[in-house]
């Protein structure tokens, strides 16, 4: 299975992360996204006319949406991760997979502006990102009242993996996570999963050191 990948891409990291959690080996093909802009070259546009990464190839299957890749990986290994146990759970999982696209556009857009100097309306992107974070915080509070630690159940699903990277990296686009205690707890729960892997800007939990009690997500442990 071959992933067209970029080490700093949160969308690519979703796929790397779930593959690691499920123990599925990936062949990585690095794409020179920055500064090269290789995703917009004819060779890559031939694979994905949308000009985005990730792209996942397995035999004659080619996927260009990270949500579809998560469904594919989870379907190969374990139905638990699919988040489809009941009709309501299936629908809520889909809801979060679509919500994740809003995170990509808003928080991801702010991050590209702030970090890699991509042109864009930074204030509008940050405002849209904050609106999405407030919605996520409210949903996670409700989940906790139900006694569930993750987005659609008390176990992690592809809904969590789809939303996790852009939320965790919000500070890269100068959007603080300090106001969202439930989001911070949920980020920790994802980072604590067995087999979790990091990406630059998302640190692993350092077991030897107690985390500071307040506002420490995104900082070195």
């Amino acid at each position: 299975m071959k992933l067209y990948d970029y080490i700093l891409s949160p969308s690519c990291y979703k796929v790397r992360l779930l593959a690691a959690l499920l123990g599925i080996p990936l062949e990585l093909r690095a794409v020179d996204f920055h500064p090269g802009g290789e995703h917009r070259t004819p060779a890559l546009l031939a694979l994905n006319p949308a000009g985005s990464i990730p792209i996942l190839e397995d035999d004659d299957l080619r996927l260009t949406e990270s949500a579809a890749m998560l469904v594919y990986l989870a379907s190969l290994k374990s139905s638990d991760w699919l988040g489809r146990d009941t009709a309501a759970e299936a629908a809520r999982t889909e809801q979060w997979l679509s919500f994740a696209q809003r995170l990509t556009a808003s928080l991801g857009g702010a991050r590209l502006c702030e970090m890699l100097l991509r042109p864009g309306d930074l204030a509008a992107l940050q405002a849209a990102g904050i609106a999405a974070l407030r919605e996520l915080e409210a949903a996670l509070v409700e989940q906790r009242l139900r006694g569930e630690r993750f987005l659609v159940a008390d176990r992690p699903t592809i809904a969590d993996i789809a939303c996790f990277p852009y939320v965790a990296l919000a500070p890269d686009g100068s959007v603080s996570l300090d106001p969202y205690p439930s989001i911070r707890l949920w980020l920790r729960a994802v980072r604590a999963l067995p087999g979790f892997i990091e990406m630059p800007g998302i640190h692993r939990l350092h077991e030897l050191k107690p985390e500071p009690v307040h506002g420490a997500e995104g900082e070195p442990a």
Binding site: I7, A30, V31, D32, L116, L117, P171, P200, G201, A221
Partner: protein, 281 residues
């Protein structure tokens, strides 16, 4: 705050390979500037009111100055050796003082905690004694005989090795590090951090490398360095105080290692204070 003595230094403002006739806008020490390539292939840098600034091309980048540099751009003779691959890593913006960005680059003690399992690993957290000096003739800060155990010192490193390092500060916002070259023992890989000060608390960082490595694809070399630098970015953005204190009594000395102390002393001696905090607050 006035720019002071740092006004007459050279700063990187773009990758030479990316500047074309369309040009690009950027900021240097609070002053908006524009770069473009003229019809004759010459790079022109000017301020918003049309003042032409001095330009020099070197180490893959366009360098300019708001003032009048009295020295040529510092040389990196090793990078000119034939057979090296020159890696243009590209720009990364960081909300931190330009001096902080250089100081972090000089600090080897953070490797096991920030670049875990790559440039360092627990329990190998000890930094052995090494030598630091301000070389008077070159007017540069040098740290030599630095040794550190690294799980994956470079893209081309197959496993853990003890790596030798030398650090050099040839200009207030630039650092060059030399480290053991896994592919060619006896030679040094060159890894640089060139920092463009946008304001005293905002900078564009242009990492650049000159490596002996004939095997690794260029994109993987770029990504290895971007991965390392992006691990630093979130830490740089959270440092307090935001500006680099030049008063040695101010910060807890565990982080301010020997090289950092020498760097701050050298900055202070030259009145290089753009991005510095001068009095305890």
């Amino acid at each position: 705050m006035t720019i002071g003595a740092m006004r007459d230094e050279w700063y990187p403002v773009g990758l030479r390979s990316k500047v074309d006739a369309n040009g690009q806008q950027t900021l240097l020490m609070g002053e908006p500037i524009r770069l473009h390539e003229s019809e004759g292939g010459e790079i022109v840098v000017e301020t918003a009111d049309g003042r032409r600034l001095p330009v020099v091309i070197g180490h893959g980048h366009v360098w300019t100055s708001l003032g009048q540099p009295d020295k040529p751009l510092f040389a990196i003779p090793e990078a000119d050796q034939p057979g090296r691959r020159l890696v243009e890593v590209g720009v990364v913006r960081v909300r931190c003082s330009p001096l902080r960005a250089v100081e972090n680059f000089l600090d080897i003690a953070h490797f096991p905690f920030v670049h875990t399992d790559i440039l360092g690993a627990e329990p190998h957290t000890e930094v052995e004694r090494y030598e630091v000096e301000i070389r008077e003739h070159e007017d540069e800060v040098w740290a030599t005989k630095v040794k550190f155990y690294q799980p994956q010192a470079a893209k081309s490193a197959a496993g853990g090795i003890t790596t030798d390092y030398m650090y050099r500060v040839p200009a207030p916002t630039c650092s060059v590090l030399y480290k053991t070259c896994p592919a060619r023992p006896g030679e040094w890989d060159v890894i640089t951090l060139f920092v463009q000060p946008l304001t005293e608390e905002l900078c564009d960082v242009w990492p650049w490398m000159a490596l002996y490595d004939d095997v690794t694809p260029m994109t993987d070399l770029i990504h290895f360095q971007q991965m390392i630098f992006l691990q630093d970015r979130s830490i740089l953005e959270n440092q307090i105080p935001r500006r680099l204190p030049l008063d040695p009594g101010m910060e807890i000395p565990t982080r301010a290692d020997l090289t950092s102390v020498a760097y701050r002393r050298w900055l202070k001696r030259h009145n290089y204070t753009y991005g510095a905090q001068l009095v305890a607050q």
